[in-house]
């Protein structure tokens, strides 16, 4: 969505945020109300839809794939997730054709960086490594259906939601002839004469309490803002994409500074920044992440299982 606002409107907005009051009544560190729904697509292994402020709308879907790789060529195990962000033309006519590709690629690359150490960060992600040469590949695809500011934030929430919704089948790995292995789905033993195919496959889920989040912190005037609306994005001097991950090993008594790891910082969209601002913006990002982790944790715990056949946009 293209927004055209005049210089006076911009000035009003900038003066407002410097007083910690934004045009929609929020403070600088506040998020817009958000909706998170999981299990919206039956055709995926895990899916999540996040709506931010009723206008930014992203949909994340995960497809699993059994991937064979060369264990000798890869000395260190690579993290199994790959990200792809696509800007649907529905969001804005400027994304038609190849219009959204560049921004999509940038964002995909940023998520790739933010999740590059996820084998260390997500406790049970290493379970996707099935045997030497075989692993589950987790394709996380995000489609931006509506665009009204702070897409990276919405995407990272959708990714966490989809990862928590993701069900990975348990498998039995047995050594086979010639150093190969055979991988068979694990089905729990059930008495009686139930046919094997009718027994549901055992599934496991990822622990998402420490998943990295990619947050945008923007500099408008002298103020740092999170979750900008399209009008605010017109006034941005410079923007940082900050990836924050919870450190599960830290003790709960320790202060905030120990509790979080930074996985990614990127200056985005041009503009100059003071050295001190980077520090302040990183701190704001961790503070915001703390609140978001709490909110998303509550939501994931309380969300009810969806009824089959429920359609999500209705």
């Amino acid at each position: 969505m293209e927004v055209h606002i005049s210089d006076d409107e911009k000035l009003f907005l900038i003066h407002g945020v410097e007083q910690d009051i934004r045009n929609d009544g929020r403070a600088c560190a506040d998020f817009r109300p958000m909706i998170l729904e999981r299990g919206v697509l039956s055709g995926t292994n895990g899916s999540c839809r996040v709506q931010l402020g009723q206008t930014t709308d992203v949909l994340a879907g995960i497809k699993l794939e059994l991937e064979a790789y060369d264990p000798i060529a890869e000395k260190q195990p690579k993290q199994p997730m790959s990200f792809h962000v696509d800007f649907s033309a529905n969001a804005s006519s400027q994304f038609a054709g190849k219009g959204g590709d560049q921004y999509g690629e940038e964002l995909s690359a940023a998520f790739q960086v933010a999740y590059s150490r996820s084998l260390d960060i997500i406790p049970n992600l290493s379970k996707t490594q099935l045997a030497a040469g075989y692993r589950w590949k987790i394709h996380v695809d995000i489609s931006v259906l509506q665009w009204a500011g702070s897409v990276p934030d919405a995407c990272s929430l959708a990714i966490i939601g989809a990862l928590s919704d993701l069900e990975i089948p348990e498998v039995d790995v047995t050594p086979d002839d010639g150093g190969k292995v055979s991988i068979v789905l694990k089905r729990p033993r059930i008495g009686g004469d139930v046919r094997d195919e009718e027994v549901p496959v055992a599934m496991w889920k990822l622990i998402v309490t420490s998943c990295p989040m990619l947050l945008t912190v923007s500099k408008i005037g002298t103020a740092n803002l999170v979750d900008c609306s399209p009008e605010e994005e017109c006034c941005i001097r410079s923007q940082l994409l900050i990836g924050v991950a919870k450190n599960l090993e830290s003790t709960p008594e320790s202060d905030d500074a120990n509790e979080y790891d930074i996985t990614c910082v990127k200056q985005h969209g041009g503009g100059l920044l003071e050295m001190e601002s980077i520090d302040d913006m990183t701190k704001l990002a961790t503070r915001t992440a703390k609140g978001l982790y709490e909110a998303i944790g509550n939501r994931l715990n309380t969300e009810e299982k969806r009824k089959p056949g429920h359609s999500f946009l209705l």
Binding site: Q102, E105, E106, S108, A109, A110, Q112, V113, S116, R117, D120, I121, S238, L240, A245, N247, D256, A257, N258, E259, Y260, D261, I262, T263, C264, V265, K266, Q267, H268, G269, G270, G271, L272, L273, E274, M275, I278, D279, T282, T286
Partner: protein, 273 residues
């Protein structure tokens, strides 16, 4: 004997010796503060091919201190025919930047110049997208795009060989090319790549093999005469507490590069005269 009899010659000799010692002292001071600079730049044709597996001089760099750069070579203005060109080499990482423009292409009609970046020599698509995004962001911050309405500035970055720290090398090459082209911009950009080890040690400008055991790193670019950053690219997993010192260290390292870049620009101006 004849030689001893020649007193003026002896005087001359001792004077030379004195001068030499003076220079040596100066050089030592210089070396301790400044990065090693390779003189005599010429890019042999062989360097224009990609060098992939040769990780030479890794033994050398093992010996350098945490604050020292790899042997570097910067050059402002490589090709005379181009509108602007620059070359930067840190150890085995070599990047060439060429600028075409600003010129109108008949399509672009906005009131500011369009800056496009073409990357060559990097195969990984995700990496290309990331590099392009970071460099576009960094460059659009310094170039006065409003002064070239309806023009296109095309920057072609060729990565000749990659041995770690491509982004900082590329930013250095591009800033030299910009200086060479005479396109108006806010100032030269100095950029440094620094990684952090598990035990808290920093490594300045590491090669690929040196960066293997790092827990994270940052590429930091800033404009010295404004004192403001144009590019921050932090990756890996770094505790919140450690980020700010790491950034500060990277800034110090970038400042250390400034004289080298200045010198390259001055040399190119001298050559033109």
């Amino acid at each position: 004997m004849n030689i001893f009899a020649n007193i003026p010659f002896m005087k001359y000799l001792s004077f030379l010796l004195l001068l030499f010692t003076f220079f040596v002292i100066l050089f030592i001071i210089f070396v301790s503060r400044m990065p090693t600079i390779r003189s005599n730049l010429s890019i042999p044709l062989t360097h224009l091919n990609r060098i992939d597996d040769v990780r030479m001089e890794t033994d050398d760099v093992e010996k350098r201190s945490a604050t020292a750069f790899r042997p570097l070579c910067v050059k402002c203005g490589v090709f005379g025919a181009q509108d602007g060109s620059g070359y930067a080499e840190f150890g085995n990482t070599r990047v060439l930047a060429q600028i075409t423009g600003p010129e109108g292409d008949g399509k672009w009609e906005e009131a500011y110049a369009k800056v496009t970046i073409t990357l060559k020599g990097v195969e990984n698509e995700t990496k290309v997208a990331e590099l392009r995004a970071d460099m576009t962001s960094s460059l659009s911050a310094v170039i006065f795009v409003n002064k070239y309405p309806g023009k296109v500035i095309d920057i072609e970055v060729t990565v000749l060989s990659d041995d770690g720290g491509v982004l900082s090398t590329a930013i250095t090459a591009v800033t030299l090319a910009l200086a060479h082209s005479g396109i108006e911009h806010m100032g030269l950009t100095a950029s440094a790549h620094v990684t952090l080890r598990q035990n808290g040690d920093y490594i300045t400008d590491p090669s690929t093999s040196e960066a293997e055991d790092a827990i994270g790193g940052v590429t930091f670019a800033f404009v010295p005469n404004l004192g403001q950053t144009t590019c921050v690219n932090l990756y890996g997993r770094i505790p919140l507490k450690a980020t700010s010192p790491l950034l500060e260290f990277a800034r110090q390292r970038a400042i250390a590069l400034v004289p080298a870049i200045h010198k390259a620009v001055v040399n190119s101006v001298k050559e033109r005269k």
